[in-house]
């Protein structure tokens, strides 16, 4: 239980006991409550006053399955508000096993300097000069770092986009194969890391001193029940390994809610060519991998490894949201081009969503035709070259809209929406508009409830009841994001009562207090309150809880609806 405080101005590192105020927190709860308490809300996100905090989930580092999420927080250079972006891979479990509750990066290295932060198996941390890695892309970087420091390290790093402090810059994480293919993509946290002068975190996976559990026996029993439920649930046990997240391409198109051609169509003509079914079939025929393990201790295996027609590696963890942003929004219905763009985004260190949407806005503005894969790939390379257009694309859809003076920019709080059009699933309008994170599908995913044939009366095209489901989903997610568990394990916890109870037992056995569902909900509320408090002080009031104007004015075919949730209803979302 300790904080590592790394001061980049002084190049000093201090270990301290976790302050009282943060005891019992992990993941998003810790990053958000910390940012609200310690970061000046009006500060320059790329200046020395901002702080970048890395916090493994509460259950990371334990023996529980799928506890590999790490939350990264700071003030966002994209939204101007608070940001938590979480990612899987191997670092979260590694830090947990080292007994490290959070790493806090403060200050700012002098212009031109670049460092690595290395944490060894005894939790000793050192800053190492990294000037030789200036401009290095992430795949080449991690290959060298693994040669120099050993493959038994988890790595979080930035690419050229982060070094250039672009607002779509991601922090990339290595997967279990040591590839930097997983991203804490949202909100430009890579730019914050770049502004500090930190190129990578190298964390030993050899730690043997996780925090003690308050009740190891109870933990063990509950962990077994939870794992069994995840394995036996059809979604996490069969569907995810077979099709991965790309399984969503079909149903979302069938619902007319797949934003295509820069959100001017709700069905992508030819979506079958980029569906989860097609992806799995292509990967199988070429000898790639589906049902691939991406993160430490995962038993779901939603990931994949995409290979070209010759069987050569192209990219890994090709996900639904990426297929949508680089394929649906740009009208590129060719998996090979999409996989190439996914690789380039990972390699340059970019959020695939914000970047795919930025390219789509440029196409919509007439810069290049929709469907032109070559042009899309060239735009990605422009980002590295640092041209005017490259900077606009790398800073996201709003900056591209300004560059071309184009009005149709699908964002909330400057962050691109995800692969569900808010006009086709009105509940997502509420989540996108009101989430303190900006448009973020993971913050309150109400797609399932809207589209399900059984159980529930929600009509995806009506605003009725959407505020309530979004509120409940946002609270539940804010609490779940504290645990370190992958969201794909949540389905079992929601559907199987014993698994839900097991999760309460696990948290209680870790923290040493009996927890009820109400306690967990109260945690979710506390986290969102802290996030909204920070945003308010940063100048993001309820007026910022709105979608881009065109969503209210331009109907989306085929259902020809606009966003129908009124401003007053949006403002009712957080009635606490």
């Amino acid at each position: 239980m300790k904080f590592l405080r790394v001061n980049m101005t002084e190049k000093s590192i201090q270990a301290e006991d976790v302050p009282q105020a943060y005891l019992g927190l992990g993941g998003r709860g810790l990053t958000s409550i910390f940012i609200d308490a310690e970061v000046t809300p009006t500060c320059d996100p790329l200046g020395p006053e901002n702080k970048l905090i890395f916090a493994p989930g509460l259950l990371s580092g334990t023996t529980l399955i799928n506890t590999s999420r790490i939350s990264i927080g700071a003030k966002s250079p994209l939204t101007g508000g608070i940001k938590e972006s979480n990612v899987g891979g191997t670092v979260s479990a590694a830090l947990g096993r080292l007994g490290i509750t959070a790493i806090i990066v403060e200050g700012k290295a002098p212009q031109g300097e670049l460092y690595l932060l290395k944490i060894d198996e005894n939790a000793e941390a050192r800053l190492l000069p990294a000037l030789g890695f200036k401009g290095t892309r992430t795949y080449a970087l991690v290959e060298t770092l693994q040669k120099d420091h050993g493959a038994k390290n988890g790595i979080l790093c930035i690419g050229p986009a982060g070094e250039n402090q672009l607002a779509s810059a991601s922090i990339q994480s290595t997967d279990v194969d040591g590839r930097p293919c997983r991203a804490a993509g949202r909100g430009g946290l890579g730019a914050v890391m770049g502004s500090k002068g930190l190129k990578a975190l190298i964390v030993s996976q050899g730690g043997k001193h996780p925090d003690a559990l308050a009740d190891p026996e109870a933990f063990k029993g509950a962990a077994m029940i939870f794992a069994k439920a995840v394995k036996e649930h059809p979604f996490s046990g069969q569907l995810m390994p077979a099709l991965g997240t790309a399984m969503l391409v079909g149903p979302i198109n069938a619902a007319g809610a797949f934003p295509s051609f820069n959100a001017t169509q709700g069905v992508l003509d030819g979506w079958e060519r980029i569906s989860g079914e097609k992806l799995a079939e292509t990967i199988k025929a070429r000898g790639g991998k589906s049902g691939h393990m991406g993160c430490s201790q995962c038993i779901i295996h939603c990931s994949n490894e995409f290979v070209d027609a010759q069987g050569k590696y192209v990219t890994a963890a090709l996900e639904y949201e990426t297929i949508w942003a680089t394929g649906g929004m740009t009208g590129i219905t060719d998996l090979d081009s999409i996989a190439r763009m996914d690789f380039l985004c990972d390699d340059i260190g970019l959020d695939t969503m914000n970047t795919g949407v930025a390219i789509a806005v440029a196409m919509d503005a007439g810069y290049k035709p929709f469907g032109d894969a070559q042009a899309a790939i060239e735009m990605l390379e422009e980002i590295v070259k640092g041209t005017e257009l490259g900077k606009a694309i790398g800073n996201g859809p709003v900056s591209v809209g300004k560059h071309f003076n184009h009005h149709r920019v699908p964002v909330a709080k400057n962050q691109s929406i995800a692969a569900y059009d808010p006009r086709g699933i009105q509940g997502m309008a509420v989540t996108y508009a009101t989430s303190p994170m900006g448009a973020d599908h993971t913050a309150g995913w109400v797609v399932g409830q809207n589209l399900a044939a059984f159980g529930g009366k929600l009509d995806p095209l009506s605003p009725q009841g959407q505020v309530e489901v979004s509120r409940a989903a946002q609270i539940a997610t804010a609490a779940f994001d504290c645990t370190g568990l992958c969201q794909f394990a949540a389905t079992a916890a929601n559907d199987v009562p014993e698994a839900g109870q097991a999760l309460l037992t696990l948290l209680g056995a870790k923290l040493g207090t009996a927890l009820t569902q109400e306690d967990v909900n109260a945690l979710g509320v506390r986290v969102i309150k802290a996030e909204r408090a920070f945003n308010r002080k940063a100048g993001l009031t309820n007026k910022a809880d709105r979608l881009a104007k065109f969503f209210y004015e331009e109907p989306l075919p085929p259902h020809n609806k606009t966003v129908l949730v009124s401003d007053e209803e949006m403002d009712r979302t957080f009635n606490f």
């Binding site: 099709l243 619902a255 399932g448 399900a452 009366k457 389905t491």
Partner: protein, 79 residues
């Protein structure tokens, strides 16, 4: 009445000879609902949770229309 059913995800492998391009024709009594179609195909709600008719998602109680194209998907979760 007749509806054309298209299956997705792991559902097609339940029906030997299913042609993904064409889907399959299913004969149902007049007034049949979405849940009746699923029952006829022996697809449980754990397996088939999202049903769209002619491009619009439907609830289990919705009435089917003759000559419709019906897409059946697995339930979805996550984010």
């Amino acid at each position: 009445m007749n509806v054309k059913v298209k299956l997705f995800g792991l559902l097609p492998r339940r029906f030997p000879g299913y042609n993904p391009e064409q889907g399959m024709e299913v004969l149902l009594p007049q007034g049949a609902r979405v849940k009746d179609l699923l029952a006829r195909l022996d697809i449980s709600k754990e397996e088939g949770g999202i049903v769209a008719m002619n491009g619009l998602v439907q609830k289990a109680d919705a009435e089917l229309r003759d000559g419709s194209v019906v897409h059946v998907f697995h339930p979805i979760a996550g984010g």
